[in-house]
């Protein structure tokens, strides 16, 4: 990882110095232990701030969309001859690169608006898992040493096997190496093991209907509708989100439980063919809502029904924007 970090800083420096990009979106060391946080670097002197480690959790594609969108807005009232172009350099692991592909498939910006600095990925440490393993105690310091995470809490120093705290989505990740990139910082990482990818979905789908509903409503009853899951998701970029629309008002803003359920059903359904399972929404959820259990079902169906792997191929249309004559139709109702 150190060598990737070194290469990353060099490439970022070069891109900025040569004015190939206006800004680099990457990660830097966070203020809390075991946290890296998104950063924006526009000066080639500052590229040593960039880090690449097991604590880079967020999906940076989100910021690429935001920055380009803001730039586009700012250019609206500018005379044609004075319009400027903005190019974003982005540090992209597998899931980030797939989110970029989704933006490109959905025509949000052009391929030459981004320079993708690919990083081979071996997963990140899930905040919730590490907090669990630290016994809920405040983590004062922490670092990765070989295949374990060493954490220091009030009660002493603990060694935790790295594998035990890697996020669930990373453990079964099918695309841990960037799907597209302009520059690669290292050769491909070892693949993760995706065979278990849908085990949880299959198991859940076999439970009785009422049990599934009870689980769904139980999870959703914890949701406080802070919308962090939406705000962090690279595929949630509508200028006006349906939850904030007032004409019509799709979702009530009160505390009625069905409004929360409907909000979640619709936000998740908007992810059909678009969720790359980066786990960012799960990581930011302050209430630990098990969103992935539901999102993963859409991913599975997208593959099983339409043979579509989200964000895997740039010039493939999004699955719900197209169709095939061979699409299954057993679900179509036939009256007696």
């Amino acid at each position: 990882m150190e060598s990737i970090e070194k290469k990353l800083r060099e490439e970022a420096k070069r891109l900025l110095a040569e004015k190939k990009v206006d800004v680099i979106v990457g990660y830097e060391k966070g203020t809390l232990p075991l946290c890296s946080t998104p950063c924006f670097i526009s000066n080639s002197e500052d590229t040593d701030r960039l880090v690449w480690d097991f604590f880079c959790r967020q999906n940076l594609a989100k910021y690429v969309h935001d920055l380009l969108f803001q730039h586009k807005e700012s250019q609206r009232n500018v005379k044609p001859e004075e319009k400027t172009k903005k190019v974003i350099g982005v540090v992209a692991r597998g899931c980030t690169s797939r989110s970029l592909i989704i933006h490109l498939q959905e025509r949000q910006y052009h391929r030459d608006d981004v320079v993708i600095i690919g990083v081979p990925c071996t997963g990140y440490v899930a905040q919730e898992k590490i907090a669990d393993r630290a016994g809920g105690e405040e983590i004062r310091e922490g670092r990765v040493e070989g295949d374990k995470v060493v954490v220091k809490t009030v009660s002493g120093v603990k060694d935790i096997p790295l594998r035990d705290v890697i996020a669930d989505n990373c453990l079964t990740c099918r695309f841990n190496n960037p799907v597209i990139s302009d520059i690669m910082t290292a050769t491909d990482a070892q693949p993760m093991s995706p065979d278990q990818e849908y085990v949880q979905v299959d198991e859940f789908g076999k439970r009785p209907l009422e049990e599934r509903w009870a689980y769904f409503t139980g999870e959703m009853s914890r949701c406080i509708r802070c919308y962090a899951c939406r705000n962090v998701c690279p595929s949630c970029y509508c200028k006006v989100c349906f939850v904030e629309q007032s004409q019509p008002r799709w979702v009530g803003i009160g505390i009625d439980e069905t409004d929360t359920q409907v909000f979640q059903i619709m936000r998740m359904f908007h992810m059909a063919g678009r969720c790359v399972d980066c786990g960012a929404c799960v990581e930011v959820c302050p209430m630990g809502v098990d969103l992935r259990r539901f999102l993963k079902k859409l991913d599975k169906d997208g593959f099983e029904l339409f043979n579509h792997r989200v964000g895997a191929v740039l010039d493939e249309p999004p699955p719900l924007a197209t169709f095939r004559d061979t699409d299954k139709d057993e679900f179509i109702f036939e009256p007696e």
Binding site: R212, T258, V262, M266, F294, D301
Partner: protein
């Protein structure tokens, strides 16, 4: 809600999203031809099944529908050529998803009825009504104010 189920007078409420060019005309034909079918459906006329935001379906369930029927033109007969075919993909995913979270699959029904199939329309409504009757009133997702 439970007492409703015992209430003999309970009739399911089914919201039917019907495509203007086929099913809506089919329903009209059923009416003109005086074909009997249950009065359980409330028809919402849409320009094309492709115009239906899956949110309409979820919203109808939240607002008190016991079932939702979506009906458009048979494949190959869409007024806009392929609206129904892309809609089909959305519906396949929505139906699966709703049943995955625990909503009975019989509450969301998709079918095709053409303008000349008044009699098929009546049979569809009968079929959906019967299935929803077995399930009883929708008490999941339904807003209670």
């Amino acid at each position: 809600m439970a007492e409703n189920r015992l209430n003999k007078g309970w009739e399911p409420k089914i919201v039917a999203f019907c495509c203007n060019w086929c099913t809506y005309a089919g329903a009209d034909l059923a009416g003109i031809s005086r074909i009997q079918y249950p009065p359980s459906v409330r028809i919402v006329r849409v320009p094309c099944t492709g115009r239906i935001n899956p949110f309409y379906i979820v919203k109808a369930l939240q607002e008190g529908a016991d079932g939702v029927l979506v009906s458009g033109c048979h494949p190959g007969e869409c007024h806009y050529l392929t609206g129904n075919l892309s809609a089909k993909r959305k519906f396949a995913m929505l139906k699966n998803f709703l049943s995955y979270i625990g909503i009975e699959p019989d509450r969301t029904v998709f079918t095709w009825v053409s303008a000349s199939e008044g009699e098929r329309f009546a049979r569809v409504v009968q079929g959906v009504t019967d299935a929803v009757k077995v399930l009883g009133p929708m008490d999941k997702l339904a807003k209670r104010i």
